[in-house]
Amino acid sequence: MSWLPIAMLAVPLVGAAVLLLPGFAGRTPRRYGLAVSGVTLVLAVGLAATFDYGHAARIQFETDLSWIPGLALRFHLGVDGVSLPLIVLTALLTFLCFVLLAGRPPRRPRALVFTLLVLETGMIGTFLALDLLLFFVFFEVVLVPMYFVIAVWGGPGRRAAAVKFILYTLLGSAVMLLGLLVVWAQAGTLDMVALAHGHTIARSAQIVAFLAIGLGLAVKAPMWPLHTWLPDAHTEAPTVGSVLLAGVLLKMGTYGFARIAIPILPEGAAALAPWLGAFGVIGIVYGSLACLAQRDLKRMIAYSSVGHMGFVLLGFATLTPVGVNAALFGNVAHGLITGLLFFIAGAVKDRYGTADMTRLGGGMLSRLPYIGSLLTFACVASLGLPGLAGFWGEMLALFGAFRPAAELSRPLFLVFMVIGGVGTVLTAAYFLRMLSRVTHGSPVVPEGPPVTSAEEVREVLGGEGPVEPVATGTVVAAVAAVAAPGAPGVPGLGGLGEPPERRDVTAYELAAWVPLVVLILIFGLWPKALLAITTPAVQAILRGVGA
């Protein structure tokens, strides 16, 4: 039994429970979430520091306790090369979200901190669990907190988006549960380690189970055509919600493929891998084309996630060490890059009151040089420029498709590779188009209503109007911050059509973003840092394939 993983679950959970104490009622625990998630991050770093990299394929920090004998459910936690990067990523992104919130206290801060801490428990638990049912439980833990993050702190269409999110993902996880139970009924154990080391599940049962589990994971990942919940959820969610949704929650789906679906059901995986690859490739192209058609910055980034997850799924579908490595790398890289993109998009939305690209009106690099250049950096990383983290996941996935596992049809995967290659070009196209519209050009405010929207004005005037408040606290803070230094009156009320002064990046934002920038650079320039951890584990995952 190892205390580190348990502590990583206990710290956020206890931290959330403490918030329920009546002593916190009415008081804003401004730095509280920062402290709790900071402790969790320190534990995660400690985990990474004491991890035995010589045996990355082995489960380390193992805890195996009996929880519910009647369901054969064991409290089995552990870390290996597949889960370690994701655990650290989760702890980091959550911490950075709290850094951002410390700079701009949200509406109902106590509730938001509570929700985010519960969310963190669920996310970390999903990556730690080594028991199928325990994995399922943690997988479900994130649903309700994320629902509330979207439904309470989201944008105007938040109610519908939140409901869509939770119903869609619950349907997926219910189907996944059926698949897990099929595995259990056939193999008689729920232990992932034991299952991965060999069992006797008939091929037909493996295919059924892979189909059910894969569907559940594909909704979460999301895989085309099961992605339709994602754009709404991302667009309506507040910044921290979008960051965690894209940075961590999507990874839970792809992680499930690496942890459960492929190692436990190798024959099922081999049978269905062509479909997985096909849907992944369609997702790449579809996501890119959808991005080209978007006007909303956040919505565009959401669709870009569909494309990037397509590469991850393609990597898994190849069933080769290269491909699965690519998928795991792409997972982490996407978490970092898209996390950063959503952070910046949130900052842009705070300042302009809209994320509509035509309303943003170009020239961001001259008006907000720091934010503009960081946005450029994140986009360039996301489109897969060599030297940045986004490149390796895509490149290796295509490389994996070039030489798929022996039992897969090579011509088919060559077609996938070509289509995926077209997808990378399209990805570059929509990001560059967006950059040219938003960051470049001259700062001209387009025709139409002023950028400071009616809602924002109402917010500033302090009235509890009938209009649903858009991220109230942050907008008020932002607008007040702009209005305070010398600007007479309220922007958007006085000088119609005249672009108001906007504050460039704040210290808190910079603190939240810089770690991501640094990591994107490190993993881009030195991919081996990550690949060295995952490679041994990947070989263990693929032991059953082709055997």
């Binding site: 329920l20 009622a25 929880w67 519910i68 004998p69 009647g70 369901l71 509730a111 519960v118 669920g122 049912l133 399922f136 439980v137 479900e140 833990v141 649903l143 309700v144 629902y147 509330f148 439904a151 309470v152 109610r159 939140a162 409901v163 939770i166 119903l167 619950l170 349907l171 219910a174 189907v175 549960l177 059926l178 139970l181 099929v182 259990w184 009924a185």
Partner: protein
């Protein structure tokens, strides 16, 4: 013929029956008509009965009484009996606590109320111990008849009278149908005892009459558990009846119905499983779907709970469709966990209904700001019913049922249930979200009456215990 009666075995129903008599007497001789003491006497009766059950559980072993020669015994106390009796009595405590709040308004005569309540509980405790068809039917009627009267006791409310009449008519018909089936079974086999019945039926080839009898008996019990196509009464009755009676109907009465159904199917008719299992599967699928779909459009809290409890009946029925194995245990495990979380939801609705007389879902808007305790408790129970963390008790209960169905090879039923879980989540989460949505006019901060608050507290604690350690239930049931 002189029979020796094992008074320890029948201790629990006896204690309840004596308490019922005592309440009636006290009501007559009381100088002032205050409801308080009667409630305490009732509570004491339920607790004493619970003590008998606990003692028998600790003592272990099986007790049989009212035996006739070699034919069999009418009253058997085994593990199944103890679990369901314990469930009924635990629910009884909560219902009595809710009644104290309801009766505090002094519009309902307390003596009659508590007498009828204790009668219903007596029947519900008797029923899981019954091992012959006559005792089963009598016990079932002992549960049902007082409930009509309890529903109608809210004489000043027209909806209550309508609800009582509806319930009465539906129930009488179902009893008649059951009795017809029972008489056919008796005619075919010449015995009323369940075990000999099973032996007699398994010897003979399945005849048409036996099939008709099985289906008729099933239909009768389907009324009691509000299964499709006999579910129409639920909405009106739950809304019309006083809240404690609705809680009684949804938990005690339903548990009794399931106890009878399970006993008849698994003890009396195991040989006919090939006949009734597919029927049960289809009924389960239809029941959960109908309940969930009807619940989607409800605006009133009690109506929503009514249809949700119909849907939950479907989940409880589903494992029974699996032939053999430990299907019965899965049903009972779900029933126990369902009982706790559902009672909790009713208890919160009871405390809220005092300030929001209409009982619409919109009245719950912003509850978290005025009464955070009640809101958090209700959110917890609703998520339990939905089967989502943090409501782990409900999640594990669903996993138990899913496992049974998947292992039994009923893939289609598992998929139907999975879809239903999603439909169910829609209305549970919509209600939960209302609790935390700021209301235009925040509800006044009122403190809940002590008994109802106690009931909520008990339900929260037990549900939490089941969430952390579902093994508590699974070990007792299995």
């Amino acid at each position: 013929m002189i029979q020796s009666i094992d008074y320890v075995a029948i201790g629990a129903p006896l204690a309840l029956a004596l308490a019922a008599g005592l309440v009636l007497l006290l009501d007559v001789f009381r100088p002032r008509r205050t409801p308080g003491p009667l409630g305490l006497v009732t509570l004491a009766g339920v607790v004493v009965a619970g003590g008998f059950v606990a003692a028998q559980a600790l003592g272990g072993g099986e007790r049989r009484t009212f035996c006739t020669g070699g034919a069999g015994c009418s009253f058997v106390v085994d593990g199944f009996t103890l679990v369901l009796s314990g469930l009924v009595l635990g629910a009884g405590v909560v219902v009595v606590l809710l009644s104290m709040t309801e009766l505090a308004e002094r519009r309902i005569p307390p003596g009659e109320w508590y007498f009828l309540l204790l009668c219903a509980l007596t029947g519900a405790v008797l029923l899981p111990a019954a091992r012959d068809l006559a005792t089963l039917v009598v016990a079932l009627e002992l549960v049902s008849l007082p409930v009509f009267a309890l529903t109608a006791l809210k004489r000043y409310d027209g909806r209550a009278s309508e609800a009582a009449l509806k319930l009465f008519l539906v129930s009488v018909i179902s009893t008649a149908v059951t009795l017809f089936g029972v008489s056919l079974l008796y005619g075919l086999t010449g015995t009323l005892y369940l075990e000999p019945l099973s032996a007699a039926l398994s010897g003979a080839a399945a005849s048409g009459a036996a099939s008709v009898a099985v289906v008729l008996v099933l239909a009768g019990f389907a009324f009691k558990v509000a299964a499709v196509p006999f579910h129409f009464w639920a909405g009106d009755v739950y809304q019309g009846a006083p809240v404690p009676v609705a809680a009684l109907l949804s938990v005690v009465s339903k548990a009794a119905g399931f106890a009878g159904l399970i006993l008849i199917l698994t003890v009396g008719l195991p040989g006919q499983a090939a006949l009734w299992a597919p029927v049960v599967a289809v009924v389960a699928a239809l029941t959960m779907t109908a309940g969930n779909v009807l619940a989607l459009r409800q605006r009133a809290a009690l109506r929503l709970l009514a249809w949700s409890s119909v849907a939950q009946s479907g989940y409880i029925l589903a494992p029974l469709a699996v032939i053999g194995g430990s299907a019965r245990d899965a049903s009972v495990a779900y029933l126990v966990i369902y009982a706790v979380m559902n009672l909790g939801a009713f208890a919160v609705v009871m405390t809220v209904s005092r300030t929001a007389a209409r009982g619409e879902l919109d009245d719950y808007r912003g509850l978290a700001f005025g009464r955070p305790g009640a809101a958090v408790a209700l959110a917890f129970f609703l998520l339990c019913l939905a089967g989502l963390p943090p409501g782990l008790a409900g999640l594990f209960a669903k996993v138990v049922v899913f496992r049974q169905i998947v292992e039994g090879g009923l893939g289609w039923l598992a998929v139907v249930m999975a879809v239903n879980t999603v439909i169910g989540l829609y209305y549970y989460i919509a209600w939960t979200a209302r609790l935390f949505t700021p209301a235009p006019a925040p509800p006044a901060r009122v403190s809940a009456p002590v008994p109802a608050a106690l009931a909520v507290g008990i339900a929260v604690l037990v549900t939490l215990a089941f969430s952390v350690a579902p093994q508590l239930v699974l070990a007792v049931v299995g």
